[in-house]
């Protein structure tokens, strides 16, 4: 499976919509176990993506991911900026090779986050959404329930990376904010893929 330019752009635009609509929900999640700005951060990133696409329409999927990455890196102002930024930058490079499968592309994004965050699964970060979804895609059973399950799995984890890790045991019982924004990303992807199936 691969995304054409119009599909990929639809994907990111849906993500942007969800981020803007759920700004305060993301802030609230981050208030519980972080510094309360994840919604504000991602909203800034979302607006920068829209501006970037408006200024110069991406000419191919690689350009689109690159513009997304730059908007995140430049405007988010929190850890999620370099993390999403690295994921999309690495995806932008990888997608240049004609035949890369979408599942492998998402894996490359997940690997980018791991590298940038010096982190891995089970640390109660967005990786706990990205990695299970890459896995599900590889096995061709990707749908919204996979996204939901991945997100929910972060609830009972004890954070060992990111700000929530300072809370130790007390980080349990809360969803990870970055996993929630990543869930929006992949719900948007299900929507785009669904339209075509």
């Amino acid at each position: 499976m691969k995304l054409e330019l119009n599909e990929a752009q639809k994907w990111i635009e849906l993500f942007v919509e969800k981020l803007e609509a759920n700004k305060s929900e993301l802030n609230e999640l981050d208030t519980a176990i972080g510094d309360g700005d994840h919604g504000t951060n991602m909203d800034r990133g979302a607006k920068a993506i829209t501006e970037s696409f408006a200024k110069k329409a991406p000419e191919n999927v690689s350009d689109l991911y690159k513009a997304t990455a730059f908007a995140m890196i430049q405007k988010v102002g929190g850890a999620s900026g370099p993390l999403y930024g690295t994921a999309f930058l690495d995806m932008s490079k990888a997608v240049k090779s004609e035949n890369i499968e979408l599942a492998d592309l998402i894996q490359i994004g997940a690997d980018g986050i791991k590298r940038r965050g010096e982190s891995d699964i089970k640390m109660k970060t967005m990786i706990d959404v990205w990695q299970p979804i890459a896995d599900a895609m590889k096995q061709d059973n990707f749908d919204k329930s996979v996204v939901e399950d991945a997100l929910d799995s972060t609830k009972d984890m004890v954070a060992t990376k990111g700000r929530a890790s300072y809370l130790e045991e007390k980080s349990k019982g809360h969803l990870d904010p970055g996993s929630q924004s990543s869930a929006y990303l992949f719900e948007s992807l299900v929507d785009v893929l669904g339209e075509n199936s």
């Binding site: 309360g36 700000r163 300072y166 809370l167 130790e168 007390k170």
Partner: protein, 122 residues
């Protein structure tokens, strides 16, 4: 709340900046600062430490400092103060951030001390 936080630094900007940073993770914790000399030059002031302790609304104080004379002024105030002051010989910015995060959720002292024990560098 049970714990308030006092930040003692040679620089008024550092003290204020640490307060800004940790307040985001601990909006309900009383955080007061003593930064720089009485003239806001680089240095330290026992009077400022005293004022920061007095102004703090925590029942007990978790105190963080940067270098030598910040610690000494803190100790002088501790010796004279009625309030219980816990001095943390840990990394100023990082230790205060960790402690503030835990103080915000009403963690007991042992948990807080344990969480910063690997940041002991003084």
């Amino acid at each position: 709340m049970k714990f308030g936080i006092v930040i003692v630094s040679h620089s008024n900007k550092i003290a204020e900046g640490v307060k800004d940073l940790i307040s985001e993770a601990a909006p309900d914790v009383s955080i007061t600062t003593a930064g720089g000399t009485d003239d806001n030059e680089i240095g330290s002031s026992m009077q400022k430490v005293q004022d920061a302790v007095d102004a703090n609304t925590g029942d007990e104080i978790l105190a963080f400092y940067d270098l030598g004379s910040s610690k000494m002024n803190l100790d002088m105030v501790s010796e004279m103060s009625d309030k219980k002051i816990h001095r943390f010989d840990v990394a100023l910015v990082e230790g205060a951030y960790a402690a503030a995060t835990l103080a915000q959720v009403d963690s007991p002292l042992e948990i807080i001390e344990n969480s910063v024990k690997d940041m002991k560098i003084k």
